[in-house]
Symmetry: C2
């Protein structure tokens, strides 16, 4: 996401400037998570972050630039919330702990909000090509460790040689996204649990 971050912060900022910028992105991310991109007005962000219009303009020339910073921020937050498991998904135990972590997180949110980046994708992927490219990159950052963990399992002989880490990782990410959307809609973690368990069961069918 280096490119994305650069786009929205081309200047070198002072420590105070960095803090103000971070406060704006944090406030905007919270509002977008709760209400979506379209219903998050620039004035709402100003109020929530406690900054003036000119301050906000100084850091983010327009709403689109701010939203790209939100996507970068939410991608980092989503990945961080899945640690330490996400970066070492190379055993069935780790997959199980990762699954439990995701379910616990949705439960703690009372199943609201869905996926912080999936929801943005559903809302603006068709309308904003630059945001869509950032979302593609964000999902790729998510899929890469899934792929890598499964490849390690195959290389260590935990999974058979005909297990395809690329395909299984993509299917796992899709199951996760669909599970989050249905969990948000139905206000129960059952869809997320069922979707992840099904995909982990499929991965298990490749166990040696």
């Amino acid at each position: 996401m280096t490119t994305t971050t650069r786009t929205s912060a081309p200047r070198r900022l002072t420590a105070k400037g960095e803090a103000t910028r971070a406060r704006i992105v944090e406030a905007a991310s919270g509002l977008v998570f709760a209400h979506g991109v379209t219903r998050t007005g620039v004035e709402d962000v100003q109020r929530e972050a406690g900054v003036s219009a000119s301050q906000l303009y100084h850091y983010f020339g327009d709403k689109q630039t701010l939203m790209r910073a939100v996507i970068a921020h939410q991608t980092e937050a989503v990945l961080a919330a899945q640690q330490p498991e996400l970066d070492a998904l190379d055993t069935f135990e780790a997959l199980g702990r990762w699954r439990d972590r995701l379910v616990t997180l949705q439960r703690s949110r009372h199943c609201a909000g869905g996926c912080p980046i999936g929801s943005i994708a559903a809302e603006i992927a068709d309308d904003d090509p630059e945001a869509r490219a950032d979302l593609v990159a964000g999902f790729e950052q998510w899929e890469a460790p899934l792929r890598s963990g499964l490849a390690t399992m195959r290389d260590r002989g935990v999974l058979r040689d005909d297990a395809d880490p690329d395909r299984l990782a993509l299917a796992l990410l899709a199951a996760l996204q669909g599970g989050l959307l249905l969990t948000q809609t139905r206000r129960t973690t059952l869809p997320l649990e069922t979707a992840l368990d099904a995909m982990i069961e499929l991965i298990g069918s490749y166990a040696v």
Copy 2:
């Protein structure tokens, strides 16, 4: 969806009234599919449907009522687009044809739009409890034939007794939703194909 339809059309309408009402819902559904709920203004719907503000008000007292009619309409459209397979998903051949139909449909849409009801869910499920209830009902109408087809396969001895149609149907719907979202974001049907194929492979692992 009878309840939902009643909510938005409590009066008995003349044939002409029905046609006008249908034209409004059709126009609103197209706009929501392209731009989302929030960015679809009542004035846009008036213009697109070629009706006056008072006509629109006559059929739908407020935007929320109109949006509930859109959810009902899009649910029917989504289910109709999956026929004839959806109502008889009781063989692996039918599952394969259904999968191909979904992929072809997304390809014909150039992967844009995502799921017509999933996208609405991602956008407004948290903010509008009545719409959320309609979306829950819509997803249930979708999941029921998946469940029923899988139950038939189990009852006929095509699937083993330990195959759980409830669980597999929910996981299949989640994979489909996640596959649609990633297909919309990445502008390729690969995520949808991979997600559906993975779930059908898992179902296949229960074949007798």
